[in-house]
Symmetry: C2
Subunit: 353 residues, 2 copies
DNA sequence: GTGAAAGCGCTAACAC
DNA sequence: GTGTTAGCGCTTTCAC
C-alpha cells in the first residue's frame, strides 16, 4: 500500500506520448499508429500498469461489475443449493466470457446489518444486477432498483410490484396443477409441504393450492399447509406430522429440496408408505430424472430455463440492445410417467434434524 | 440510466452549504453543527443520495470491497464445500459487521478466461483480499499480490513462495502422522487417497506420506498414491481399485471430502470391510464428530481454526493495526478414539459416479 | 495520428 | 464550524 501504482501518466511519460494515446490503446480504439501502439503495449506490461476501475467508472460512466445480490441470509437460502451453483456457471457463460467482472456482494445480508441489499447499486458499483432470493412481500428495495435505472433481473416476482424485471416459474400454477391432479384422483384431504413460507414463492404456492380446493368445493384446513425451511432442515419431521393424520391421502411436496429421503423417512415414521397408502406430487427442477420414483406425478418447474432466458435478455439490456424490464414467467408441467433414471445427485440434501 | 443521480453537490446546493460539509456528514466527521448535520441528513434521505464508491476510492485512497477470489474453477473446488460455506459466514462476522462490503469476484476462473485471478486487485477494486483455493505449484499471481501491497490472506501455502501471507493446516505433517500411525500398527502396504493432486496441498500430502515410509525403511509404490477430484467424483472407484489389491492393509483417506459412503462402498465392491481386513486413518475438518466410526484413527486438520485466526489478523492488518504478512500453520492432531456422534451432515457429498 | 484541456464525484489540506 | 481549492486516474471533446 506504500508505493504508488503506475498510472496512465507514467505509461505516457515513458512512451513519450500523451495520456490520451495510452487510453486509446487500453480501450482498443483506433487512431493510434501501429508502432506507437506496440511500444505502449510493451511499456504497460513492463510497468505492470492496470487501469483503475474507480476512475474509469467515474469518468466513463459505467461501473465495474455485474452484480449478484441476495435478500436472504445464507441460512435461509444456502449457497450450496444446486440452483445457485448452476446460476453462477450460467452467469459465467453469459457475462464472464465477455470479460465482465461478476461480483457477488455477500455483505448486505450479514446478520445485524440493515439488509439494504441494493447498496452496491446505489453506490454505483454495479452496472447490472441479478437478484437471487425469495422476495419478501413487504420488499421496498426492488421498486427502488427499478427506478434507479440499471439493467436488473430478479429471479422471483412480487405481487406488490408486478412491473418488476423478473424471470421465474409460475409457482401458483404449479401448486394449482399439483393439487388438482390429486383431487382428480379422488383425494379429499390433501396436504402441502412448502418452502419459503413468508416470501412470495410461498404465498404463490398457497394461493394455487387454495384455488384448486375451492374449485372442487373442498374446504381447506390450514393445518395441512406446512412450511419447511432450509435453516431448521425439518422436512422429514413435517412430513411425519402430516401423515400421522390418517385422513391425509394426498401430499404435494413443494419444498424445493428435491429431497426423496425426507419424504420416505417422514412417511416411515408415520407408519405409511409413499405410493401405497398415500399419493404424492413432487416438485422438481429437472425434467430428465425422477426425484422420487414412487411418486404419482412430478411437477417440473422450469426455473433454470426461465433464469437462462432472463440472463440472456439481461445481457442484451446491458449491452444496450434492448430495453427493460424483463418479463418471463414459465409454466410448469406435470408428468405422470417419469424417466427410469433416479436423480444421480444426492437428494438427501440436509440430513436428518 | 437516463436521469443523473444526485451528487454531493446537489445535496450541498439544497442545504446551502459547501460540498465539503456534506462530505463531513457522510463520513461522520466532527466539525459540523448539530442543526446543519440534521438538516443535511434530511436532504440526503430526501434526495436518495448515496456516495459513489468509485469517486470515493479515487480520492480517499481505499477501494470499496474486501475481496474473495479463487484460483480454481467451481468444478475443481465446488462452492458447496462445507468449508467454503463456513468461510463466507466467518467473513461476515469479521468484516461484514463493520460495514465492509465483501465481494466475491466470480469471473477470473470462467472457463476460457486468462484466469488472472488478481484482476480485481490490480484494478484497485479490493482493499484487502482472501484467496481460497488449492494453489498451483507454478502460481505466479501470489507474489504479485504480495508485492502489490494490499492486505491479503491465502488459505494455502506455496513451496515456491514461503513468505506468502497464509493461514493453513500442516498437510505434510498430517500425512506423515497418518502414515506413521499405520506403520506403527504393523502395516507394510499403505495406500493414500488424496485430493488436489496437482496443487500444493496434494504435494504436501505426498511428501509427508513418503517421509514416513522412508523413515520406516519401506519402499514406496507409486501406484498406491491415488488422486481423486471433485470433478469426476470418483472416490468410491479409487478406493475400490486400491483395495482390490489384497496386499494393501492400510489406507489414508486425505480426500478432503469427509465422505464415509465412498470408503464403505469402495471397500464393499472390493469385497473388503473397513476395520476388519484393513485399517484406515480418515481426515476430518471437525474435531467433535466422526466421519467414519469404524476407522482406526481420525486426523483432525484445524483448517477452520487457522482460517478464523487468519481472518482476524487480516482484519487488523486492514485496519492498520498490524503489518503483514500473516503466517499461520496449525498442526493436525490424530485421535484414536472419537466421539460416538457420527457426523450429522450428509457425508455422501457427491453421490456415486 | 496525436495532444491539450476539462471534468466525472469525492475528500484532504488549508483558509477563515 | 464552514468554505475554497486542488487533485485522485481516467475518458471525452475538440483542436491540430
Amino acid at each position: 500500500m506504500n508505493k504508488k501504482r503506475p498510472t496512465i501518466y507514467d505509461v505516457a511519460l515513458r512512451a513519450n506520448v500523451s495520456a490520451n494515446t495510452v487510453s486509446r490503446v487500453i480501450n482498443g480504439k483506433t487512431g493510434v499508429g501501429d508502432a506507437t501502439r506496440e511500444r505502449i503495449r510493451g511499456i504497460i506490461d513492463e510497468l505492470g500498469y492496470f487501469p483503475n476501475v474507480g476512475a474509469r467508472a467515474l469518468r466513463g460512466g459505467r461501473p465495474g461489475c455485474i452484480g449478484v445480490v441476495r435478500s436472504s441470509t445464507t441460512e435461509d437460502v444456502p449457497l450450496s443449493h444446486p440452483f445457485i451453483q448452476w446460476l453462477f456457471g450460467e452467469m459465467h457463460r453469459v457475462f464472464g466470457a465477455r470479460g465482465e467482472r461478476i461480483c457477488f456482494d455477500m455483505s448486505p445480508c450479514a446478520p445485524g446489518n440493515g439488509t439494504d441489499y441494493g447498496r452496491s447499486i446505489w453506490e454505483s458499483l454495479f452496472s447490472a444486477c441479478v437478484l437471487l432470493n425469495p422476495l419478501s412481500p413487504g420488499d421496498t428495495t426492488i421498486p427502488r432498483i427499478h427506478r434507479f435505472g440499471i439493467p436488473y433481473l430478479s429471479l422471483g416476482r412480487l405481487d406488490s410490484f408486478p412491473e418488476c424485471s423478473s424471470a421465474t416459474a409460475d409457482y401458483e400454477r404449479g401448486a394449482y396443477l399439483s393439487t388438482k391432479y390429486l383431487i382428480d384422483r379422488g383425494h379429499q384431504s390433501i396436504a402441502m409441504v412448502r418452502a419459503f413460507a413468508n416470501a412470495q414463492p410461498g404465498i404463490d404456492r398457497e394461493r394455487g393450492y387454495l384455488r384448486a380446493l375451492e374449485e372442487a368445493g373442498l374446504v381447506p384446513d390450514e393445518r395441512l399447509i406446512q412450511s419447511v425451511n432450509f435453516k431448521t432442515r425439518d422436512n422429514a419431521l413435517i412430513v411425519h406430522r402430516l401423515l400421522v393424520d390418517g385422513k391425509v391421502t394426498g401430499l404435494v411436496d413443494c419444498s424445493a429440496t428435491e429431497d426423496a429421503w425426507s419424504m420416505r423417512e417422514g412417511a416411515r415414521r408415520a407408519g405409511r408408505t409413499v405410493g401405497k397408502d398415500f399419493e404424492t406430487v413432487v416438485w422438481t427442477y429437472s425434467n430428465d430424472a425422477a426425484v422420487l420414483p414412487e411418486a404419482s406425478a412430478h411437477l417440473w418447474l422450469p426455473v433454470r430455463e426461465a433464469a437462462a432466458e432472463g440472463l440472456e435478455l439481461l445481457a442484451a439490456w446491458h449491452r444496450g440492445e434492448r430495453e427493460g424490464p424483463i418479463d418471463i414467467q414459465y409454466a410448469p408441467a406435470l408428468f405422470e410417467s417419469m424417466p427410469d433414471v433416479e436423480m444421480t445427485q444426492s437428494k438427501r440434501l440436509f440430513g436428518q434434524p
